[in-house]
């Protein structure tokens, strides 16, 4: 992706391309995950299962590593322009409306897991009771459900704490010094060093909240994957990437319908690829 030397443009470019590259990467990872999930669920002999488990674990690690790299790049960019990450211009309005501190809610991972494990559960119920546990996520064991529940409660608690932190910071804008400066300023358009400095200080706290939110997302994802078996984890990652890509595509379609055309440098052709992936 080309980067302009103009500082303002480069910020925006870098932010956009950071996101676009992440979405690209997710799509590649998705294909690889699907491929391996299919082949490892078809090979069921115990001999191959150990090696395929190893395979899957590596894939999972790769996915997590990619996520971590994205978070790191983002954090780097956010340091100089945090508000762009709290109200991103690269997201569709559908995605933006779902944002929680510049990303998804960590608790939504558990909802996704419940949705996925519920999908085939009923049809497998009689099989399950007879001991034929086919389908990975539908076979969440006792220990797993308890652990998932525990993780969910913890995550929601931490999420609420962060939400409160952000709420305080949002309220700050109506308090000193912003409100006072605004009250005393003659022309809102004039350059006011005091305001600039206050906004910079405020931004540092915002960066902090975004960092903590990213950390919570990562920790929750890792803990969830630890609870799941490798095959379940791969299924989960597939589901989460499909969801992310789809919401992005659905959002684009909706924005387009409302006359909001976002200039994206490379239009990813998400939908056809995804439909091609359907197994």
């Amino acid at each position: 992706m080309t980067t302009s030397f103009n500082n303002n443009v480069s910020d925006k470019e870098a932010q956009h391309s950071c996101f676009e590259e992440w979405m690209e990467l997710q799509q590649q990872d998705l294909l690889e995950l699907i491929h391996n999930s299919d082949s490892s669920s078809s090979s069921s002999t115990s001999n191959t299962s150990a090696s395929s488990d190893f395979n899957l674990k590596q894939l999972i690690e790769k996915s997590i590593k990619h996520f971590q790299e994205y978070i790191d790049t983002r954090r780097h960019l956010a340091c100089s322009d945090v508000t762009a990450y709290l109200a991103p211009t690269w997201c569709t309005t559908l995605e933006s409306s779902m944002l929680w501190i510049s990303g998804c809610r960590p608790s939504s991972y558990i909802r996704l897991l419940y949705a996925m494990s519920g999908k085939e559960f009923e049809s497998h119920l009689s099989n399950y009771l007879q001991g034929n546990r086919s389908g990975h996520l539908s076979g969440l064991l006792t220990v797993q459900l308890n652990s998932v529940d525990e993780l969910q409660r913890k995550t929601i608690r931490q999420e609420d704490q962060l939400s409160n932190k952000l709420a305080s910071l949002q309220e700050e804008i109506a308090d000193q010094p912003f409100a006072i400066i605004a009250n005393e300023v003659g022309n809102p358009g004039e350059i006011c060093r005091e305001a600039e400095e206050a906004l910079d200080r405020h931004a540092k706290f915002l960066v902090n909240v975004v960092e903590e939110a990213d950390k919570l997302r990562m920790v929750t994802l890792k803990e969830l994957i630890n609870i799941l078996s490798p095959l379940q984890a791969v299924d989960f990652l597939i589901a989460s990437k499909k969801l992310h890509l789809c919401v992005n595509a659905w959002g684009k379609k909706r924005d387009h319908q409302h006359g909001r055309n976002r200039e994206t440098k490379q239009e990813r052709n998400t939908c056809p690829t995804l439909s091609g992936l359907k197994n």
Partner: protein, 409 residues
Amino acid sequence: MAGMCCGVNIAETEATTPVEPSSESARRRRMEIHQFRFVPTDVAAATQEKNGRKRHKIDKVIDNNKRQKLESSVTISLAVTDERNENEVLDLSESGSQSVEIEPDLPKYGMTSVCGRRRDMEDAVSIHPLFCKENSENSSNLHFFGVYDGHGCSHVAMKCKDRMHEIVKNEVEKEETQWKEAMIQSFSLMDKEVVNYSTSVLPSSTSGSNCRCELQTPQCDAVGSTAVVAVVTPDKIIVSNCGDSRAVLCRNGVAIPLSVDHKPDRPDELNRIQEAGGRVIYWDGARVLGVLAMSRAIGDNYLKPYVISEPEVTITDRTNEDECLILASDGLWDVVSNETACGVARMCLQSRRPPSPAGSPGNDITVTGAGESSDKACSDASILLTKLALARHSSDNVSVVVVDLRKNL
């Protein structure tokens, strides 16, 4: 104090939920077993005696009057339940020579309680095997199972979890008490305790708590909980219910509800509410004064006298056909019928040891933290029902208790 309230009790629930995995319950149980030793030998033998005729004979020796009063009918016992936990038995045999004679009848049960699709956990479950004896002379063991589904906040449900079994124990141990009166009295005392608790605690002292309602009036007055309590004796099941949690008995494959939900549009409940001067308004379903979607509850001070805490009590004789008892919050019952629930639980119990899924044999152990006497098949049943509820998109907390009622196989 903070422990009563939402945020913190989550951790508390974790720690204590499946019948206190801590050594505390084990200790308590051991203590009860010790007490048990001093029971006169003939009575102790009676519990042990599987022959119904003999037991009946011995029962007669005991103060028959008292017993009849308590159970409100003559006991022609259908053999003593023999649902011992193997570990417990082992523990006993190690601890004393008399142990064989005094093995208590430990119930087999399983429980699951999850937050599900709610962000707040307002369900609470309490299980107390051997929580009391009917009276000092009678050695039959009573087991307590309670499911509480809170609304408004979780502190009433938590209070019920902490206290209801103690209150019931007190009432049951009183002389000359009958089950129905004892249970009605217990619920009334529980309700008073809850109301006193929330009015007596100064808001300032709880401001640091994580309780959503922070025990502030008037919000705090709008907090309550359902309560479905089952006391399982060797020959009876006493179910007391208040609200829309439910107890269902699975007998020979047939689902028999042992409680009837208290919904404001239940004709008799609607009448009662209207006679008390209240109204049922349809606002997202039938609600008392347009607010509460159930007609009875513990707490909910502001809806009195329309919403009452008096339970409906059913007393059911146990039979040889009884398979299991399911207690659950509406998180289950909203999406799973009584019949389906029984079908699932039954299948779990029948396949005594469901095979472990391929590739993860290590996970087959029951490590639910559910206390020593929790049972694999019952845990499987409760977890499966919970998963079914989640699969059917239950939007509430889901709590399920499954008690194995089968005579020893």
